[in-house]
């Protein structure tokens, strides 16, 4: 019986066109994605993982399969499995089937397995798409590893099938219980969202194991396996059914089976579903069976006026729209979803803007953005789903026979459906609004910005959603199968959000796109609104065309092929619709041209590929001048006028250049940003411009008389930055802004000599463009490079004098001390001058600042901030004071009389140290919500401030040479300062939390390394994970291994030797030398491991036993110690030597009681630790001094069994 049901259903599906359409579309999409990933289109830079990871690495195959299954596969599964039984009710075939002797089990299992079987066949399409894509001749052979079938098979078996089964059983069971497609959709949404929320809530490091099991799709479980895989591993290993992944699969298959049987037991062969309510049905009055003759009198019907004018059409449109909206509002499931959404938002409010597990204050824009992001998927799914339901409602309920013959123009039908859908979106956005306000109030945040909510939600967000609504209805109006419609809209949405940008490059071609809007408390919606609305007008016009087409081609009547509908649309009664469409087309083309004019004519638009081509041409043309002797800037005197409202900047000034070489210099190379207007550029010695390359703004001036060694020359210039119209991409910092300008000299002032930062650096990309391998940095023994520092080549230390002007209500700031402030010609002027020499790297800021000042000894600490952002000023001041304290005590004196922290808009989230000036993003720190009662939240406003202030020493006092490793001297040492200041201020526990996050970041990032991992002393500038994360951990470890004083003495000697020195500039090995001098012989190995090797431990406690010895507690521990050295590709080799490792006892879960260093040999070691107090647990390397791949096996909880209690009581 089962067999025949199964076979019948499978045959039926195989006769259905949509089965093949699903398969073919999935196949085509993955084929295309495989081509993109495989580098078939060199101009499309599509990276899923590191550059060195093959496009067909098992991991990537798995990721594609997983994504297809998650986003598109579910639609297929709802369509097939969710409807497997529902179809019988819809087609009334249930009456026949339920009355046959087929058993419930056979029937349900037959339907389920047949629909599952077909779904699984369809879901195998991605494998074939990928295989064909990767083996096609168009892919780049460098991106493709050897073909093996195994990854496809194993992914299909371990991921696709189980996940589809989980989805399928849930939808199937829900369909059996509720017999309503809405409930299936509801369950889909809940399923999606619950998955997302659980992974974000369990996302923190401490909960990885739970998260791995809770995630039904197994992605987090897989992540725990591959998290720290090296590039080599990623190319060669595949997920095996082991550990957490196995547990996950078993747990979820078990849950699926239970869900299936719940659905099964709920189902009965009856026409109506089992009642889920506890209300007893009311027994209605019985219908009288006596014959009542009709007393119909047509003449008694009231005469009503009817009108079919536009006004009355509009009126009925209004009525119909109200009707659609009411339907939506009354939809129980929709209300459930809204409630669910609220619940979800409340849950997610605990995660607001988390950084180091510290949340930010619930300021309106953060709430709107995060809530909007959380609920986005719900709104999108509902828009796609209700789009279909609204369009198909009449047909699904067979009301179309009546409705289609009514004298209503199509557009009235169409608009009412659209209104219903948009109404739904408005309600859902209302959920964001109301939950947002509730969360804010609940968190005691009373600065309610209701108007901002409305602008954000209904001004910006709704527009995009409406476009999706139009699209969704358009597709549904054309297709002949609702699910096919969902599928197409789903795929399009997915494509539009991911690949469209990569392939089509310009927003002009990406549906409903815009350059981006980013709200900032400082700069509000800034200059983004204008471009945003132009783009929205453009896409709005496009949607108008879609809308008119939808309404013209609205399916009406019993058989309407597209060609018939087109004929119908051509009818002359529709001429007004066509006129509207023409208006749409005209506006679309008009706006399009206007956008093109702005983005491609007024401003330069270059695809990434074109930019790289330009970089290549630049390199080929001018690389030969890299080592031609050039003078260096020694003195800078500037006037900088900032025009916030027109977003312009003009600067004139004088650079004094000195020939510090031993050669005569006869020509000077000047490079400028190519978008700059150059009003004047000349030298104090007469000169002739012999090269003027306007493409790169590269100029070569031949001097009439050569500049002799030691001679100086001055360069006078007058340049202007002009903002014209709007650009293709998001423009945030780097150009003047209405409020919150932050620019540095590199963006508008002349650079002397060949600037290699224009070169194409990424070696994979270089290869694509036919350029040779380029070293990622100069070798550490490259003596000529010691003449230059890591920041800029065209200067060493300079004198600095700048007059900055801005609009009257803003304050403009540059490095140096304020000499004078005055008003002139309606503008506000500030004159800054620095009394010591600084690096040739400085910033200009202008904003409506409030200033708060405090003092540490005789240093002024000033914070320039946006009104309202007072929340963390105290932390920043405290951090500044503690920092100045520590650094002046342990490193060297502070060279300035002032520290200024200046807030800038959140378009970028970093802080950066310039001489006595620290621009600090609004997005980090200023609105952080540090809970001091929680011991493991990192106070990152404090931490970031300490880090930046440390840069006043490391970078602005000591700067490394332009060779590999040098960035470590600024970043890792600044990290050291910050960690030390933090350690003095905060608990052990918080430090541990911090270091744990850093450790995880390092280990994760190194597994994504695209070039090669370098040891700390040779680190590249781009290897942030080594500079910051690994650097911080290691220097903190050095502090503990060598002792704070020893290390600090070494630092002092190093700073003393190289302070304000250069050229030649120091290198990391100079620091290592100083540190070695402070290191006992026994620990020299540790210096080597830290600086010149990539050292990774895998320590663990095998077992531990606690006993009592009269007064003391005795802990006997077996530890396993393992140290490996990693090569640059991540391949490990064992290091056989002994190592010093700390082992400590905790008195509670979090309080470290005692810790001691032990010399451990590789492998097993037995230790005995005596303690006065009863220990709670024993931990190897409790202070996280060593990079350890697996931390959760580093501790064992101690169970103390009192022997006396074991004895039976007499």
């Amino acid at each position: 019986m089962f067999g025949s049901i199964f076979a019948f259903e499978v045959r039926r599906s195989l006769r259905t066109l949509s089965t093949y359409v699903y398969f073919v579309i999935l196949f085509a999409v993955t084929f295309l994605v495989a081509l993109l990933a495989g580098g078939a289109f060199p101009e499309v830079n599509f990276q899923i993982a590191g550059e060195k990871i093959f496009a067909n690495a098992p991991l990537i195959i798995d990721a594609f399969f997983g994504a297809v299954n998650n986003y598109i596969g579910t639609i297929i599964i709802v369509a097939l499995v969710g409807n497997a039984v529902l179809n019988d009710f819809r087609n009334n075939t249930y009456t026949m089937i339920f009355t046959t002797p087929v058993s419930k089990f056979d029937y349900l299992l037959g339907r389920f397995s047949a629909s599952m079987f077909i779904s699984l066949i369809i879901l195998s399409a991605p494998a074939f798409g990928m295989m064909l894509g990767y083996s096609s001749p168009w892919v780049n052979p460098d991106k493709i590893g050897a073909f093996t079938l195994m990854p496809y098979v194993s992914t299909y078996l371990l991921t696709t099938i189980p996940n589809a089964l989980i989805d399928g059983t849930i939808f199937f069971a829900v369909s059996l219980i509720a017999r309503d497609i809405f409930v299936i959709w509801l369950s889909l949404i809940i399923f999606y969202v619950a998955t997302g929320v659980s992974s974000s809530i369990f996302g923190s490091l401490d909960n990885q194991t739970i998260a791995a099991i809770v995630d039904p799709m197994g992605n987090l479980a897989k992540r725990t396996i591959s998290k720290y895989w090296s590039t080599y591993d990623k190319n060669h290993l595949q997920y095996t059914l082991s550990a957490l992944f196995l547990v996950n699969r078993l747990v979820w298959l078990g849950i699926s089976a239970i869900v299936w049987f719940i659905g099964y037991s709920f189902f009965s062969f009856s026409s109506s579903p089992r009642r889920m309510s506890f209300r007893k049905p009311k027994i209605g009055e019985s219908v009288k069976l006596t014959f009542v003759p009709s007393f119909f009198k047509k003449s008694e019907l009231p005469v009503v006026s009817r009108s079919f004018t536009d006004t009355s059409n509009l009126k009925s449109l209004w009525g119909l729209s109200i009707n659609e909206c009411l339907n939506m509002w009354r939809n129980v499931y929709f209300r459930i979803i809204m409630l669910f959404g609220m619940l979800l938002l409340f849950l997610s409010s605990t995660q607001l803007g988390k950084l180091y597990d510290t949340t930010v204050l619930p300021v309106t824009y953060i709430v709107v953005e995060q809530f909007g992001g959380t609920i986005q998927l719900i709104i999108v799914i509902l828009t796609i789903m209700f789009g279909g339901e609204l369009v198909w409602r009449a047909r699904d309920f067979k009301m179309n026979n009546i409705l289609d013959s009514l004298p209503v123009p199509n557009w009235v039908f169409y608009c009412s459906k659209l209104a219903g859908l948009v109404f739904m979106q408005i309600l859902l956005l209302g959920v964001i609004f109301s939950s947002g306000v509730i969360v804010q109030l609940f968190k005691g945040y009373t600065h309610l910005e209701i108007f901002l909510y409305f602008k954000y939600l209904y001004g910006y967000r709704l527009i995009d959603l409406m476009m999706l609504a139009v699209l969704s209805i358009f597709v549904q109006a054309l297709v002949k199968n609702k699910y096919l419609g969902y599928f197409i809209v789903g795929i399009f949405y997915f494509w539009n959000g991911t690949f469209a940008g990569l392939v089509l490059k310009q927003n002009l071609f990406i549906f409903s796109s815009d350059p981006g809007v980013n709200y900032s408390d400082m700069n509000s919606f800034g200059h983004f609104s204008y471009a945003f609305f132009v783009y929205k007008l453009y896409w709005g016009a496009f949607c108008l065309v879609l809308a008119v087409l939808s309404s013209l081609l609205w399916a009406r009547g019993s058989e309407m092929s597209i060609s018939q509908r087109l004929d119908e649309a051509m009818n002359k009664v529709n001429k007004r619709s066509w006129a509207v469409m023409i208006v749409g087309v005209v506006v679309f083309l008009g706006c399009g041209s206007f956008i093109y004019y702005n983005t491609n004519v007024l401003n330069k638009f270059e695809t990434e590929w074109k930019q790289e081509e330009a970089a290549k041409a630049f390199e080929l043309k001018y690389k030969k001048f890299e080592f031609s002797p050039q003078p260096k800037i020694t003195d800078v005197k500037l006037n900088v006028d900032i025009f916030p409202y027109t977003r312009g900047l003009r600067s004139n000034g004088v650079f004094v250049l000195k020939n510090k070489t031993n050669f005569n210099i006869d020509s000077i190379h000047v490079a400028l940003p190519s978008t700059l207007l150059i009003h004047q550029l000349n030298f104090s010695i007469s000169s002739q411009m012999v090269v003027n390359d306007s493409q790169y703004a590269y100029r070569i001036y031949k001097l009439s008389s050569a500049l002799k060694p030691g001679d100086t020359i001055s360069l006078n210039f007058d340049v202007e930055m002009v903002t014209k119209g709007f650009r293709e991409g998001f423009t945030g910092l780097g150009t003047p802004l209405d409020n919150g300008t932050f620019v540095n000299n590199l963006s508008f002032l002349p650079n002397i000599g060949y600037d290699k930062s224009y070169e194409l650096t990424d070696n994979t990309h270089r290869k694509k463009h036919g350029l040779g391998y380029r070293k990622t940095a100069n070798p550490i023994n490259d003596t000529p490079a010691l003449q230059y520092n890591t920041f800029v080549h065209d200067a060493d230390f300079i004198t600095f004098d700048a007059t900055v002007s801005t609009v009257p209500d803003q304050i403009a700031v540059a490095p140096g001390y304020l000499q004078k402030e005055w008003m002139e010609n309606g503008r506000r002027y500030f004159h800054y001058k620095m009394d010591t020499r600084i690096l040739n790297f400085y910033s200009f800021l202008s904003a409506r600042y409030i200033i708060k000042k405090e003092k540490w000894n005789d240093v002024n600490i000033e914070i320039y901030y946006q009104q309202g952002h007072e929340y963390n000023l105290e932390r920043m001041f405290r951090s500044a004071k503690r920092s100045l304290d520590y650094y002046t005590t342990h490193f060297s004196p502070y060279q300035y009389k002032q520290v200024r922290i200046l807030e800038f808009p959140r378009y970028a989230t970093f802080a950066q140290s310039f001489p006595n000036t620290i621009p600090f993003s609004e997005g980090i720190g200023f609105i952080a919500n540090v809970d001091d009662s929680s011991k493991d939240q990192v106070d990152y406003p404090f931490y970031v401030t300490a880090h930046e202030i440390a840069h006043q020493w490391f970078a602005h006092q000591v700067i490394g040479a332009d060779v590999e490793g040098s960035n470590m001297l600024s970043e890792s040492l600044a990290q050291y300062g910050a960690i030390m200041v933090m350690e003095k201020e905060y608990s052990e526990e918080m430090m541990r939390k911090f270091l744990r996050v850093e450790m995880d970041k390092y280990l994760t990032a190194r597994s994504n390394e695209s070039e090669k991992e370098k040891p700390w002393a040779y680190v590249d500038q781009g290897q942030g994970y080594i500079l910051y994360e690994k650097g911080g951990i290691q220097i903190h470890a050095l502090n503990k291994y060598l002792g704070e004083d020893s290390l600090n003495h070494a630092m002092q000697r190093f700073i003393e030797k190289y302070r304000f020195q250069g050229p030649p500039y120091p290198i990391t090995l100079d620091l290592v030398d100083e540190i070695r001098k402070s290191t006992p012989d026994s620990l020299q190995y540790f210096i080597t491991d830290a600086f010149t090797k990539i050292t990774i431990y895998d320590n663990k406690i095998k077992e531990a036993k606690l006993s009592k010895n009269i007064d003391d507690y005795v802990t006997e521990v077996t530890v396993n110690s393992k140290k490996t050295y990693s090569d640059s590709t991540g391949k490990d080799s064992d290091a056989p030597s002994d190592n010093y490792v700390e082992v400590g006892l905790y008195k509670s879960r979090t309080a470290l009681m005692q810790v001691a260093m032990y010399k451990l040999k590789p492998g097993e070691n037995h230790l005995t630790i005596i303690s006065k107090e009863k220990p709670y647990k024993v931990v190897i390397d409790p202070r996280l001094l060593l990079i350890d791949r697996k931390l959760d096996d580093n501790e064992v909880k101690l169970e103390y069994k009192d022997k006396t209690q074991d004895k039976p009581k007499a």
Partner: protein, 286 residues
């Protein structure tokens, strides 16, 4: 005046639903009689603007329907053969909805109209009940109520009495008989009685073709003295079928009653029978 000229329609699957149909229909109740699958619904749907014919025209009061669908819809009342209802929507709500779509945009007038309609079709007491819970008869009454909205000039009722119990059918036909004055009502049915009771003009359609046309009484008169019947055994039916122009054979007390059409007395035990519309029907479709 509804004129149907040379109307033909073949479905994509090859079924020829209408083949050169010509009909002129004027005010009054017009019966369209035909067996299942004869093309009645195709014709109805084509008139109701729900589908297009391959060739031929439909003209209503001089207006080409296929080119002026919207205009026809303004004067149309249509009760389809099969229609569903939205669950959880009451009759009153649905009538309001449709009235709005039919251009009754004045709220008060619409309220009046819906109330009157509900009363007239005996649904007023059930007005708040979800349509999903209506019985077949109630659903059909709701169907005619919605068709009547907006004072239509052309009403098409497609197989309205199929599936109704005798009392409901009677009531429904009573109702229909009231609305046929001064407007065109096209009633398609396969129940001969309906046409007999209601129509003053009719056509029989079979295999997509109009095979008989006229006033039911006149048509019956035309068969005067031509219908002969005889009770035979079941196994003899084949013989009579071959020998005579047989109209139909139906069960009668365990035997078969054979009806034949003959201008002269066939003898052989046949007796004359008073012709009915049913005879016309069967002589045309057999």
């Amino acid at each position: 005046m509804l004129q149907i000229a040379n109307l033909s329609k073949t479905y994509p699957n090859g079924v020829r639903a209408l083949s050169d149909v010509n009909l002129d229909i004027s005010n009054g109740m017009f019966g369209l009689l035909g067996p299942n699958g004869a093309g009645k619904s195709s014709l109805m749907r084509t008139i109701a603007t729900l589908q297009d014919a391959d060739s031929g025209t439909i003209t209503f009061n001089g207006m080409d329907v296929s080119k002026n669908k919207q205009e026809l819809r303004k004067v149309l009342g249509y009760l389809p053969q099969e229609f569903g209802v939205y669950p959880k929507v009451s009759a009153e709500e649905m009538l309001h909805y449709i009235a709005r779509l039919k251009g009754v945009s004045n709220d008060n007038e619409r309220k009046e109209l819906v109330k009157a309609l509900l009363e007239q079709v005996n649904l007023y007491n059930h007005r708040n009940k979800s349509l999903g819970g209506y019985s077949g008869g109630m659903k059909q009454r709701f169907g005619i109520a919605q068709a009547l909205i907006g004072n239509p000039k052309l009403i098409i009722v497609d197989e309205p009495t199929a599936g109704l119990d005798p009392a409901e059918r009677l009531r429904f036909n009573n109702l229909l008989s009231e609305i046929g004055e001064n407007i065109i009502v096209i009633l398609s049915t396969h129940i001969v009685e309906d046409v007999n009771e209601l129509c003053n003009d009719m056509a029989i359609i079979a295999g997509g073709k109009v095979v008989q046309r006229g006033n039911p009484e006149e048509l019956v008169l035309g068969l005067q003295n031509r219908i002969w019947i005889k009770k035979v055994r079941k196994e003899e039916v084949a013989f009579y079928q071959a020998e005579y122009k047989m109209v139909l054979a139906k069960l009668s007390g365990g035997m078969m009653m054979v009806y034949i059409n003959s201008e002269t007395d066939p003898g052989n035990g046949f007796v004359a029978n008073k012709p009915t519309l049913e005879d016309i029907y069967f002589s045309n479709i057999s």
